[in-house]
């Protein structure tokens, strides 16, 4: 068996991630570490938000994200999938489920009372000024509404509506069929709508006028 010299992963990071991941087994340990940290930088905001919505606690979300990335790194060398984001979010979701089971009770500290980065609380660069001004009350309303949902429905909504996953990516993340994803998403959306109808005072005026 001919052993080729390990290529420099930096040369591949300008390409799409699928190229990098297909070459992942060829990289040496430091190369894989470099690739993994690039993936962490790219997906850590998604992972952190998913954990915060799943756990309802910023501090717990940090712990879960860290733990999930450590677990992912241990399994990173054997990753052969096509969608790294879905794979990482699946690990985050599973970590959150484990923490929820261990925690037993629901969050002791509400999300809206916890501090976020005052200079740049919103990671999305496409956020309009309107969404910037509405962010705090939006988050408060959405978080409270999502807390009322079943865990699977909440995960489907967070993945597809908040983090922008496709149905297929959500299916991979949730390790379930496409039909189940559609069902969970539709039921979650309907339940969230029903909740928001009862919380009109929390919603922005534009939303209330549409009622």
């Amino acid at each position: 068996m001919v052993s080729l010299p390990a290529p420099n992963p930096k040369a591949f990071m300008t390409q799409t991630h699928s190229i990098t991941h297909s070459l992942l087994p060829v990289f040496d340990k430091s190369g894989q570490e470099y690739c993994f940290n690039c993936a962490v930088e790219e997906h850590q905001t998604r992972a952190y938000n998913l954990a915060s919505y799943m756990l309802g606690d910023w501090a717990l979300a940090e712990d879960a994200t860290q733990e999930a990335f450590l677990s992912a790194f241990r399994a990173f060398k054997g990753f052969r999938g096509q969608n790294l984001a879905a794979w990482l979010m699946r690990i985050v979701a599973n970590t959150c489920r484990d923490m929820l089971r261990a925690k037993k009770s629901r969050p002791s500290q509400p999300l809206d009372s916890l501090p976020s980065d005052p200079e740049d609380p919103v990671a999305s660069s496409t956020a309009s000024p309107e969404s910037q001004t509405l962010s705090s009350e939006l988050r408060e309303a959405i978080h409270k509404g999502l807390d009322t949902l079943a865990e699977d429905q909440r995960l489907a909504i967070v993945l597809i509506d908040i983090e922008g996953f496709s149905y297929e990516e959500a299916s991979q993340t949730m390790d379930t069929s496409l039909g189940t994803v559609k069902s969970r998403l539709s039921r979650g959306r309907a339940a969230l709508r029903d909740y928001l109808r009862t919380q009109r005072e929390l919603l922005p005026p534009s939303f209330r006028q549409e009622r």
């Binding site: 040496d28 340990k29 992972a47 980065d117 990671a123 908040i162 559609k182 039921r187 959306r189």
Partner: protein
């Protein structure tokens, strides 16, 4: 056809998929026709769309810290503190020293301390006509090379007595040849007791050179083993 759509309301799942443009053109057209005709479903759809738009406008919160992994695994090889090139240099030096001593030993350089007395040894042995039974014959030139040590030993006074005892024990005969041999061994023994505290081995090589040889050989083996170990566990060698 229109009546059929009016009778059956659109399911939440279909409304949700229609909202995300996930339905086929035909199914999407059917739902459009139903929504235009059914006020209840239209209101249902509008409220669902408002809810989804609201959720989609929820911004992602930037984490307060980075989750990039520290370089702990990369720092692991530095814990040894021995670069591979240094280990290789040490191994090469030990091997070179070992080979120098070994070749010197085999070529007989170590059998005498100086170069000039070496020629006298075979001559003395041949003139005697028989192989020197004592182990010290090659060292006959030693008194010239280590006079200071001899003087130091002479201060103790034990060396002369040892020489007498040895000659008395080994040379009972009184022939001239034996006398010559006695003189030879006496001189040699004096030089050994003065310059070689460890005595001599059978081949005429000082014992401490033998010990040094052995130690250097062992050191070379240990260093070479360590070098191979370092080389194998180097990060660049990991191939999968």
């Amino acid at each position: 056809m229109l009546r059929l759509f009016r009778k059956r309301h659109v399911s939440q799942e279909n409304l949700s998929e229609y909202l995300d443009n996930r339905l086929s053109n035909e199914d999407g057209r059917k739902i459009e026709m139903h929504l235009s005709a059914c006020g209840e479903c239209r209101e249902d759809f509008e409220s669902l769309r408002s809810t989804v738009e609201l959720v989609q406008r929820t911004p992602l919160v930037k984490p307060r810290r980075s989750f990039v992994l520290a370089k702990a695994p990369a720092a692991a090889p530095q814990r040894t503190g021995i670069p591979t090139w240094a280990a290789g240099l040490a191994t090469s030096a030990a091997l070179a020293a070992f080979l120098v001593i070994l070749s010197s030993d085999l070529s007989g350089v170590l059998t005498t301390e100086g170069t000039s007395p070496r020629s006298t040894v075979p001559e003395a042995a041949t003139s005697i006509g028989e192989p020197t039974a004592t182990a010290s014959s090659p060292q006959e030139g030693e008194p010239e090379s280590a006079p200071s040590l001899m003087q130091a030993e002479a201060a103790d006074g034990g060396e002369g007595e040892a020489a007498d005892l040895t000659t008395a024990a080994e040379t009972p005969a009184s022939t001239e040849e034996e006398k010559a041999k006695q003189e030879l061994t006496t001189d040699d023994l004096a030089s050994i007791t003065s310059a070689e505290p460890f005595g001599e081995s059978e081949g005429g090589t000082p014992a401490y050179w033998r010990i040094a040889e052995g130690m250097l050989a062992a050191l070379t083996l240990v260093l070479a083993g360590g070098l191979i170990w370092l080389w194998r566990r180097a990060p660049g060698r990991a191939t999968s």
